[in-house]
């Protein structure tokens, strides 16, 4: 039991930071309150270091002690989450309490802890990341469910407090109720899986499936779990909330929503589908495929998610809604690789690695687009009020008027489009190769068509800042007064360029992380490490 702690050091670090932030953020002293973002950063950095340094790798723990479906997944996923979390932090800075703090600094008001949201905001962000990391090391359905809820619940509140506008509250309520529906769906699925197999331990479930097949109750459970988890990744048919919530929340929180729940959903999907394995169906000559029924629903979901996301994004005039629908579409792309599965052991055929790597790339490059929206406001010339920029027209000529923001947007949009040689391109290629390797030609064609449709609206995001002349009659967008958001955007754009250099080795890491000792024979291990887990027959119960 105590051995399981080895998996939890990053989470514990985050939790302790949360406790500190919750107290510090409510301090009466403005200077101390200001520290909360810094403390959050320190905690995340500590979690990053701990994730790399302490998370056990394959062969370093007994199967009973930890997650054994994908023994190298936790270390990769946690490192990724901590790193992207650290990158998201400068974007989130200044989301809550900015006006209040200005009033307090001006001496017009005294500090009122009940009105202040700073402590909760950072604490909930950390809670959410804690849940996200817990997802990655889940070895049990109950654990997985709790981790998913720990990821989601804080985000509902974050949406609500991210803006003083009513829209944010409306978005939060929608998000909460629909989220509860989704959670109910996959919780029911987990219950059915338990009912069908008699256990909640993921590796034992996998053994039961391997030994005696998938009975109808478990199959129903799997389907419910997959569809319920589709809410987290914003896939059809659970995608409806996405545009309303992204538009209602402040752009910074929307940027977080595009990564954190999606990452949790995909990691959970990999774990849940990992119990079934990609060793069933007729899929191609290698026989690597999910059971036919699961393959079909994931196939349908992937095709619909890509298409619905992209065609609806085409019609939007609000950039944030475009990004929301494109987030739906990106989930569809990743589902293609999820259908393909781990492949035949080579990196190019490994769809799970493609998903993990795409999560990384998406986390990095999507952040930049939201950072640009979050760091600029358009001041109304009449009453001096500032509105967040949201329409395409607001972006007109941004490269000339606000070069840092404009170029960040151009680079990130091109990368999201998958324009070579940016990071998005290198992330998209494995999706295609894994789909082809798995014989899912139709799905790959749909993926290609959708990438073309996406070009319509992503190129508008490039054209508006880069090629259009700024409109002389409207005022130039002003910086919002949080320089760290601009920095986050620049970091994101730089990441979309610089990470190309290490894309190969990062993908190798993802490839290793998604290695499932059940489906890949130890002899094929490229790394030459000893077999990660004993054969199924010898595994102790």
């Amino acid at each position: 039991m105590i051995e399981r702690l080895a998996f939890l050091w990053p989470e514990i670090a985050l939790f302790i930071t949360t406790c500190v932030v919750m107290v510090v953020g409510l301090s009466r002293s403005t200077g101390v309150r200001r520290l909360s973002a810094l403390i959050t950063a320190v905690g995340l950095a500590a979690a990053l270091v701990l994730a790399v340094a302490t998370t056990p790798k394959a062969g370093q723990f007994a199967p009973a002690d930890g997650q054994t479906l994908f023994p190298d997944l936790p270390v990769f996923a946690k490192t990724l989450f901590a790193a992207v979390g650290l990158l998201l932090l400068p974007l989130l800075v200044g989301t809550v309490d900015r006006d209040d703090e200005r009033e307090i600094a001006a001496g017009r008001r005294a500090f009122d802890p009940l009105r202040s949201n700073r402590a909760e905001f950072y604490a909930f962000y950390l809670f959410s990341l804690t849940g996200l990391m817990l997802c990655a090391s889940a070895s049990d359905l109950v654990w997985l469910f709790l981790a998913l809820e720990l990821t989601s619940l804080p985000t509902y509140v974050m949406v609500a407090i991210s803006s003083r506008r009513h829209r944010a509250q409306e978005a939060a309520v929608k998000y909460f109720f629909l989220g509860a529906l989704g959670a109910a769906c996959f919780l029911m699925g987990f219950a059915f899986i338990y009912g069908g197999t008699g256990t909640t331990r993921l590796n034992v479930i996998a053994d039961v499936f391997a030994a005696s097949g998938i009975n109808p109750i478990a199959l129903a459970g799997l389907v419910l779990a997959v569809v319920g988890l589709a809410f987290k990744i914003a896939a059809v048919p659970m995608h409806f909330y996405t545009p309303d919530v992204y538009q209602g929340a402040s752009p910074s929180v929307a940027g977080m929503l595009a990564f954190v729940p999606k990452a949790a959903g995909f990691v959970s999907l990999i774990l849940v589908l990992g119990t079934v394995g990609w060793t069933h169906g007729p899929g191609g000559e290698s026989g690597h495929s999910l059971p036919e029924s699961l393959r079909v629903i994931l196939w349908v979901m992937a095709a619909l998610t890509m298409t619905v996301g992209n065609v609806l994004a085409l019609l939007q005039s609000s950039v944030r809604r475009v990004l929301a629908y494109s987030s739906v579409a990106h989930s569809g792309y990743m589902l293609v690789a999820l259908v393909a599965g781990p492949g035949d052991g080579s990196a190019a055929s490994n769809g799970l690695a493609a998903v993990l790597f795409y999560l990384l790339a998406y986390g990095v490059m999507n952040l930049g687009a939201f950072a640009v929206l979050a760091s600029l406001v358009r001041r109304n010339p009449k009453d001096g009020s500032a509105d967040e920029i949201d329409s395409f027209d607001d972006l007109r000529g941004l490269c000339a008027t606000r070069p840092f923001h404009g170029w960040t947007l151009v680079v990130c949009a091109l990368s999201l489009l998958g324009f070579p040689p940016l990071l998005g391109f290198f992330a998209k290629v494995p999706l295609f190769t894994s789909g082809i390797a798995a014989g899912e030609y139709t799905l790959v064609v749909i993926l290609g068509l959708n990438s073309a449709i996406a070009a319509f609206y992503y190129l508008r995001l490039v054209q508006m800042p880069l090629l259009e002349k700024p409109d002389p009659t409207t005022p130039v967008p002003e910086p919002v007064g949080v320089p760290s958001r601009t920095a986050a955007g620049l970091l994101s754009a730089a990441g979309a360029v610089v990470l190309i250099a290490v894309a190969g080795s990062l993908f190798d890491q993802a490839h290793r992380a998604s290695r499932d000792p059940r489906t890949v024979a130890p002899a094929r291990d490229a790394a030459g490490e000893p077999p990660a887990a004993p054969p199924i027959a010898a595994r102790p119960e």
């Binding site: 105590i2 919750m22 107290v23 409510l26 802890p113 009940l114 402590a119 008699g198 256990t199 034992v204």
Partner: protein, 132 residues
């Protein structure tokens, strides 16, 4: 670990069944007895919501001060804590005093209590317990 559900063994559900039956019977006997034995003198006061004390005024769908919710939630946390503490305390005394399991169990409840303390400190700083 048993991997099969004892779904067919209905005998294990017998205690639950008995409790349900006892509850129904108890309620039925009480209601029936008051119907049969109680005197009946209907009137203005007797027909009120509360037979004794104040008369209800206005609609029940009124807005409460938000502090009630805060208090309620704080109460809930402590309530849940008690629910966990009782079975823990009942089991802990049966463990080998200095064994490894005892340490783990102690650490677990310690962690659980720690979260409550953090919640409490947070509540205090947030001003939940200020009634002014």
């Amino acid at each position: 670990m048993t991997t099969a559900l004892a779904a067919t063994d209905l005998g294990s559900y017998l205690p639950i069944f008995l409790i349900v039956m006892m509850a129904i019977t108890f309620a039925a006997i009480n209601i029936g007895a008051s119907l049969l034995l109680g005197p009946r003198r209907p009137g203005e006061t007797k027909g009120g919501t509360y037979e004794s004390g104040m008369n209800p005024v206005g609609t029940a769908r009124k807005r409460f001060n938000v502090r009630f919710y805060l208090i309620a939630m704080t109460f809930l946390v402590f309530d849940v804590e008690i629910i966990f503490l009782f079975p823990w305390a009942a089991t802990f005394s049966n463990l080998e005093p200095m064994g490894e399991n005892a340490a783990v169990w102690l650490a677990r409840i310690g962690f659980f209590l720690f979260t409550t303390v953090v919640m409490y400190v947070y509540g205090v700083r947030k001003g939940v317990f200020k009634f002014d």
